[in-house]
């Protein structure tokens, strides 16, 4: 085991005088300081651009949710389990599978699949299940490893553990499992809901993942968002050209002469009921098997079927938007209005795009970087 990195714990640091941050102005009000704190909170996210580093775009992620006794704690409203299940965001290209662990065992809730609907339905059902017993890190990691072991080498294999308990009940030495995970290049990250646990620190450090403990619910949400972004690809993951199919969606109506109803391959195995016969759908270009939803892997010929928008959704990770330059409002000459939303500039800073030098307000800056991913003025001059 290599040495622990030097890290000062909070109790080891000096005595902090937190009241000195607050400053009163002449009339004795704290309004200016409070506004400043709110403003900083809006700007908290640091925009790191990975630049020339390759990102792991095809990702297979296993999410392990701890459903042990401690998840019924009320410190996250209404209880920790419901809070976790509420915040589910669709990831990028790749597949997600969910595992739950309680009573010293681990169970697979849903298999690895690209379409989020099944996961969301399973999570909704899981909300009502009871929590009990102790979680088992070893068993859940073992289960995740079984699934991820068979994934192709060019995809990035990740496990995200949401751990609320401070204990784990393992049948064997977990450090051996850590060595195996490292050899298989599986990256494990942990989000702790209660406190820092040393075995998780070691686990994440050895496999190259990240370990965070949440402060409150919004911090929890931010951490999950952080994991949605594709991580930098490790040098050892292979780059390959993946063969994919782009099926056409045929909408046939009953009045068409040639329309023949057919079964969707996905429904043949499912137990959700319904006849499954339908007229239109997506036909695999190689074997003409029908599917109702994309993305999916064709069961007959093994071709991955996607549609072009699925790939386009990930483009903004490859060509990220640069952060805008912040400058105080007083120094800004020219008309005081935001180019994007046509509103008046009222905040104390304005943001300038380094390429086209247009000025934006705080809200537009956040909107552009989080949701829009392109500068509205730049796309006027350089489409």
């Amino acid at each position: 085991m290599d040495e622990e990195p030097e890290r000062a714990k909070r109790w080891e640091g000096g005595y902090e005088r937190t009241w000195e941050i607050l400053k009163e102005d002449e009339s004795g009000s704290l309004k200016a300081t409070v506004e400043e704190i709110l403003f900083q909170a809006k700007r908290k996210r640091v925009f790191e651009s990975h630049g020339q580093v390759r990102l792991g775009m095809m990702r297979h992620l296993c999410v392990v949710i701890d459903t042990s006794r401690t998840m019924e704690d009320q410190d996250l409203k209404p209880n920790r389990l419901t809070s976790t299940l509420k915040v589910r965001k669709r990831g990028d290209r790749g597949d997600v599978g969910i595992i739950t662990t309680k009573n010293k065992r681990a169970e697979k809730l849903t298999d690895l699949a690209g379409n989020p609907k099944k996961h969301i339905a399973a999570l909704r059902n899981a909300k009502d299940s009871t929590c009990g017993g102790e979680p088992s890190l070893y068993n859940s990691l073992n289960l995740a490893m079984q699934t991820l072991k068979h994934m192709p080498a060019h995809s990035s294999k990740e496990v995200l553990i949401i751990l609320s308990s401070l204990t784990t009940c393992d049948p064997a030495n977990i450090y051996d499992l850590v060595k195996t995970l490292k050899a298989l290049k599986i990256r494990v990250s942990v989000i702790g809901l209660s406190a820092e646990v040393r075995v998780c620190t070691v686990l994440t450090r050895e496999t190259g993942g990240s370990y965070h403990v949440i402060l409150d619910e919004s911090h929890f949400r931010e951490l999950l968002m952080f994991h949605v972004k594709p991580p930098p690809a490790s040098a050892s993951s292979e780059c390959s050209l993946i063969r994919m199919g782009f099926p056409q969606h045929t909408i046939a109506s009953l009045s068409d002469q040639d329309a023949k109803p057919s079964f969707s391959q996905a429904h043949l195995d499912s137990t959700s009921g319904g006849p499954g016969l339908s007229l239109g759908g997506y036909f695999c270009p190689q074997c003409h098997a029908k599917y109702t939803e994309l993305p999916v892997e064709c069961k007959i010929c093994g071709l991955t079927l996607v549609s072009a928008p699925h790939l386009a959704r990930s483009f903004h990770h490859l060509f990220p938007l640069e952060a805008f330059q912040e400058s105080p409002l007083e120094l800004h000459q020219g008309e005081r209005f935001c180019v994007a939303c046509q509103g008046e500039l009222r905040d104390k800073s304005v943001f300038t795009c380094p390429w086209c030098c247009s000025v934006f307000c705080v809200e537009c800056d956040l909107f552009i970087h989080d949701i829009l991913h392109c500068c509205p003025s730049c796309i006027h001059s350089r489409p």
Binding site: L55, G245, F246, C341, L372, H380
Partner: protein
């Protein structure tokens, strides 16, 4: 029919394609349908939306080849006087003041826009993606400025004249996904030729796409198809959805392909296998047939 309550605000943003080259050619082809007729129809649509409920809001953006300009609402807080002080808004025919003010502002702004911009040789495509981006930022601001307890439903109506510009594909897709995330519908009313980008936008966001058979009846189509909002649309019989071609175009020839090869690093699409990706210059592993090893059978101990 479901009545909108006092707390529901419906915001409609109309993006009008005012590409001067296309409209100039159109004036020669069909003199009875010119840009001013088109804007009359847009004004009728805007007025109708404003009088449906007191809470309805409107914005109109003109999409030109060099800029996108907000025709309405006007920036009244400019230092100096706004239009409201100089020209009294009474139109003399008893029209509701809000509507006559809106129409006057729109007419004034479009005249200023068309007279001040000069078309340069290589920039002849309408900057539709840019106008949509500005529309989304405007909607975002209005949503933030709502009073407590009010809900807002927004949609964007695009009136498209000139052809698509393939260079705008990526920005267009960013805008479409942003609109989908914010639950904003994008409707499209196409005057001339079908637009693949707008078909995808309408399909992904859940809006309506229609190519108008007769341009002079634009006002009729706008009022019939695009005026009702999303709640009321389920109770009407509207034009059926069109078949959208979601096949990808390969990066090397720009052909539409059904089976292609995707680089795992940069997601570029190619029609043929090549050892190097031209976009990110990664060298690929060439898949060799795998050697099958002879399996050794292990004797399991009896349990």
């Amino acid at each position: 029919m479901v009545m909108a309550s006092e707390d529901e605000v419906s915001l409609l943003v109309i993006v009008v394609d005012v590409n001067p080259i296309w409209w100039g050619q159109q004036a020669n082809r069909e003199p009875q349908f010119t840009l001013s007729k088109c804007l009359d129809a847009v004004m009728v649509m805007g007025n109708s939306h404003l009088v449906m409920t007191r809470n309805n809001k409107l914005a109109i953006i003109a999409s030109h080849c060099q800029e996108s300009h907000f025709l309405y609402p006007f920036k009244l807080w400019k230092s100096g006087d706004g239009h409201g002080d100089d020209n009294p808004s009474t139109s003399g025919d008893g029209k509701y003041e809000l509507l006559s003010v809106a129409n006057d502002i729109m007419a004034e702004e479009i005249k200023i826009l068309m007279s001040r911009t000069e078309v340069k040789g290589n920039q002849t495509d309408t900057l539709l993606a840019g106008s949509l981006a500005k529309a989304l930022c405007y909607i975002h601001r209005v949503t933030k400025e709502l009073e407590a307890g009010q809900e807002i439903k927004s949609r964007i109506l695009v009136i498209k004249a000139a052809d698509d510009c393939a260079l705008q594909y990526m920005n267009f897709m960013n805008v479409i996904f942003a609109a989908q995330k914010q639950s904003i519908l994008i409707d499209a009313c196409v005057l001339d030729s079908d637009s693949g980008l707008l078909q995808q936008a309408c399909d992904i966001t859940g809006g309506l796409y229609l190519m108008i058979p007769q341009k002079i009846a634009l006002a009729q189509y706008l009022l019939w198809v695009f005026l009702p909002d999303s709640d009321q649309r389920s109770q009407l019989v509207l034009p059926p959805p069109v078949h959208v071609d979601y096949r990808a175009a390969c990066f090397c020839h720009r052909n539409l392909i059904e089976i292609g090869y995707v680089c795992s690093v940069c997601l570029s699409i190619f029609c043929n296998f090549s050892p190097i990706c031209t976009t990110c210059e990664t060298a690929f592993k060439i898949p060799l047939p795998q050697m099958v090893k002879a399996k050794k059978k292990k004797l399991k101990p009896s349990t």
